[in-house]
């Protein structure tokens, strides 16, 4: 297990032996972290968020993007604290609104890669409306939703992705609400790239995130994670390492899922990992910029004929 975690954090044994103060220079991944930000993170030790942050950095690094060209926008929650640690243009906004802020930013700067980082409550409860409309517009934003089925920062209340029957501080007798399937929702709303993996499958996340960021329209990557501190404790799911292991044991690749019979697919309770949807659709800012080009051209002709205000 320790090997896996080390690998997931992309700290090779060689890197781990380098004196701590030289880490930033030694690792390509660490070069994307903010040197002037006091570490450690606010996350509980054993949390999957560090792994997912590593995957995001590797994806950006793999694509060879300039740091100045990347903007990370987040809402509120444990996941939303991610941008502060990374050396990009970072905007930490209000609860649920990351995609609405990101929409304004992307329209102002269509040339920038805008990535919205949200938790399940942030993206789908308070931010649910912005989520479906950003997908509907197919605006060129990558939404990274870390789904741990709980509100972690406030101490473990049930979220729109808590499975039925699971306990939370506000569902002491078990959750009675059916959860949102995040990826299905995004596909139905119009997202042009949708993929899912878990905090255990860090390298898979690297790949999906770089594909999502490269996609011209609205992309969603659901990174299934866990909260051992709240959800794990109240539901007796074990330690962080055990919960990390369960992501491996309780998930199957999409290719495997596709080979199941219809009955088996319907009965499946495991997390399906893979690219679930890919469909080329016109991207919002590209279309709007075309409209602007046409209208500025028309206006020039009009001004030549009738003059300014």
């Amino acid at each position: 297990m320790a090997e896996h975690i080390l690998e997931a954090h992309s700290l090779t044994k060689q890197e781990a032996q380098i004196p701590r103060e030289d880490w930033f220079e030694a690792s390509e991944t660490l070069q994307h972290l903010r040197k002037n930000k006091k570490f450690p993170t606010i996350w509980c030790s054993g949390c999957g968020l560090g792994v997912i942050m590593g995957a995001l950095i590797r994806a950006i690094d793999h694509l060879g993007l300039e740091k100045d060209q990347v903007a990370l926008v987040a809402g509120i929650g444990c996941t939303a604290r991610m941008p502060v640690y990374m050396d990009f243009n970072t905007l930490h906004t209000t609860h649920g609104r990351a995609l609405a802020f990101a929409t304004g930013l992307k329209i102002a700067r269509p040339d920038m890669k805008v990535i919205a980082i949200m938790g399940d409550g942030d993206a789908l409860a308070i931010g649910g409306n912005h989520f479906i409309h950003a997908a509907r517009r197919n605006i060129g934003i990558t939404a990274l939703v870390v789904n741990n089925s709980i509100y972690g920062m406030t101490g473990g209340q049930y979220s729109p992705t808590t499975p039925v029957g699971m306990r939370a501080t506000t569902a002491p007798y078990g959750n009675v609400e059916p959860p949102f399937p995040i990826c299905d929702l995004a596909i139905a709303a119009g997202a042009s790239y949708v993929a899912r993996s878990t905090a255990f499958h860090a390298l898979e996340l690297d790949k999906y995130l770089s594909e999502a960021i490269s996609n011209e329209g609205f992309s969603l990557v659901e990174a299934v994670s866990y909260c051992h501190t709240t959800y794990g404790r109240i539901n007796k799911l074990g330690t962080a390492a055990e919960m990390m292991r369960s992501l491996k044991d309780n998930s199957i690749p999409k290719a495997t899922f596709d080979k199941l019979t219809l009955e088996e697919q319907q009965a499946n309770t495991k997390i399906v990992r893979g690219v679930l949807h890919r469909k080329k659709r016109p991207e919002y800012t590209a279309i709007y910029d075309l409209l602007v080009q046409q209208q500025t051209h028309q206006e020039e002709i009009r001004l030549r004929n009738v003059g300014r205000y």
């Binding site: 002037n36 930000k37 740091k67 100045d68 060209q69 903007a71 926008v73 941008p83 502060v84 050396d87 990009f88 243009n89 970072t90 905007l91 930490h92 906004t93 209000t94 609104r97 609405a100 802020f101 990101a102 929409t103 304004g104 930013l105 992307k106 329209i107 102002a108 700067r109 040339d111 920038m112 409306n129 912005h130 409309h133 709007y288 409209l291 602007v292 046409q294 209208q295 500025t296 028309q298 206006e299 300014r308 205000y309």
Partner: protein
């Protein structure tokens, strides 16, 4: 220069374009919708962008996001939408992101009377979002001023890195008047200039009242948050970092009051009564004062164009000159509370109406005799 007949709402949209606004996000709502319609039509012609968002919460978020990306931005709404914008208005005040929010006031609370005028959002404009925060609120009295104060709103917003609310009402918004439109290229526009290199840039430096704001994607990679933050933008709870920032942010407008406070004081020697008003009611006040003066009475007239920060000193001076101040408002007494705070309750005579009808000159004249 050209003379046109237009609505206050159209004048606001043109004022925004003249001021350099290049992004508008909004959600349809009576009686403000014409602002969005004109912006949707005109912005693409000048290379700007318009988007109709899914609600007013998102509209407010989008204009902040666009300003972070470097475009001067605006939204317009009315009471119910203004209530939804309070969340991110607080964010703009906290993170010091310039933006302009137009509130064409209608009768509330709740859905109220969508097509009836009101001045019921005066206190909400100041204190609607939670927590102490700086904010500028301007209120035009004519179509022509709807244009010019919108330009002022953008310039103050950039100069002091604060949201500015243009608090108008259904009367000014829908009224048609002739307006002399200047050549937009002659309009003075305040532009922020960042002089520091990225290595030493501090987006929230406390060395100056208003540190310049760098747009995203131009080499200044920094953090913006709605949390209490230090000079480089990182969240902090350290009192030695928080206190200088609180002092700067909550005092920055008061320290530049001379630049921000716009009002007109029309004194008559020997006057014992003054009328203090703003917005559409100022038009009634002018009419009433004209009538009174024509009948030989002496009256002072004070019109506030900046209502927040409240022009305390000017109102104190006004109070020194007279025995009584009449404050007519289309609400149950909101700015009157502030006048009373400054000059004392006994000196203030409220004239209120909150049923959708305008205050009439007769109501103000009648208050003279009480």
């Amino acid at each position: 220069m050209s003379v046109k007949l237009m609505q206050g709402n159209e004048a606001i949209a043109l004022g925004a374009l003249a001021a350099g606004c290049r992004f508008y996000a909004g959600y349809p709502i009576t009686p403000s919708t014409e602002v969005a319609e004109v912006m949707a039509r005109e912005l693409p012609k000048v290379g700007g962008k318009f988007i109709q968002m899914e609600d007013e919460i998102a509209s407010m978020a989008a204009i902040i996001g666009a300003r972070v990306g470097g475009l001067k931005s605006m939204t317009a709404t009315s009471g119910p939408g203004f209530s939804l914008m309070q969340e991110n208005l607080g964010y703009a005040a906290m993170a010091e992101i310039p933006c302009v929010v137009v509130n064409v006031q209608r009768l509330g609370p709740s859905t109220g009377q969508p097509t009836a005028a009101s001045q019921g959002d005066v206190m909400q404009a100041r204190w609607g979002t939670h927590g102490d925060h700086p904010i500028i609120v301007l209120s035009p009295i004519s179509v022509s001023q709807a244009f010019s104060l919108t330009v002022t709103a953008f310039n103050l917003s950039e100069k002091y890195r604060t949201p500015v609310i243009l608090l108008t009402d259904e009367i000014i918004g829908h009224m048609r008047e002739p307006i002399e439109l200047p050549d937009f290229s002659t309009i003075e526009r305040y532009e922020q200039v960042v002089t520091e290199p990225p290595e030493t840039y501090k987006p929230y430096s406390n060395r100056t009242d208003v540190p310049a704001m760098a747009a995203f994607g131009r080499g200044y990679r920094y953090h913006i948050t709605g949390l209490f933050h230090d000079e480089v933008g990182f969240p902090t709870q350290r009192l030695d970092e928080v206190e200088p920032w609180l002092e700067r942010v909550n005092g920055k407008l008061e320290r530049h009051a001379d630049d921000i406070l716009l009002y007109q004081a029309d004194y008559q020697p020997g006057a014992r009564v003054a009328v203090l008003s703003y917005g559409a009611t100022a038009r009634t006040a002018r009419h009433a004062v004209k009538q009174l003066r024509e009948s030989g009475q002496k009256v002072n007239l004070f019109t506030a164009y900046t209502i927040w920060p409240f022009p305390e000193k000017a109102v104190e001076e006004l109070a020194d000159s007279v025995e009584r101040i009449i404050v007519p408002e289309m609400n149950l007494g909101q700015l009157a509370l502030e006048v009373e705070r400054v000059v004392g309750r006994r000196k203030v005579k409220r004239v209120t109406r909150a049923n959708g009808e305008m205050i009439t000159p007769d109501m103000i004249v009648a208050a003279m005799e009480m």
